[in-house]
């Protein structure tokens, strides 16, 4: 099989995205949410 049929996938970071990526208040919120999500994922994982 070759790569001919692979779909092109583009992801663009818009100026709005960039602003959010460095917005301290929003990023503080994401910091809390991401930490909780990772800890929940670890808990969800088997860990036996």
């Amino acid at each position: 099989m070759t790569l001919d049929l692979i779909e092109e996938f583009e992801m663009e970071i818009t100026p709005k995205d960039k602003a959010f990526m460095n917005n301290k208040i929003y990023q503080f919120w994401r910091f809390i949410v991401l930490n909780i999500k990772i800890l929940r994922a670890v808990d969800h994982s088997k860990r036996s």
Binding site: M1, F31, I38
Partner: protein, 186 residues
Amino acid sequence: MSDKMVNKAGFVLVDGIYGLNYDALERNPDAWPASYQNPNYLNVFAAGIAFAPPGPISKPYINKNGLSITAAPPRTGMVSGVIGRVVALNIVDLIKNGRMTHHERMSEMVAACIASMGDSLWDGSAAVMVMYPIVPDIKHYPNESGRDLFVSLMEMGLAGAWMKFVLHHTFIWKFKGNLGWKIIPE
């Protein structure tokens, strides 16, 4: 002896099912090793990059120049930490009770990865990725990716740089065995 211990590439054979083609491996998440113990030499375990994976985690391709493009499973970072814990606890089990009680396949394991794109705590950035399970399991998650889409995510931003900073310090705290080290994830 070496045929029973390692594969041709030098990775240690463990309790996985080897020799399956990709289609069979994709349908059988239980082919991935659970206890990371060599079936021929029971005192040999292999954690992290040392063990031989049963195969790729996505469909292998060959490009028009004949180059094989095969995604090997990630076995460093959090994955090696989790496998190391399973192996260490099993060795303790074997010494104390004579049988192993811990097992975790990569098809039932979660992994988080933080790729730094600037470590400043003011204007740095990092990509945070969480993948569950690491090896796609189309039996339990019958979607295109074979993963739990409520758990798996990717996000970029300053929060990632903060998380990378916290991760470094909590890791060193854990490695030193300081108070609460057990509750810090690998």
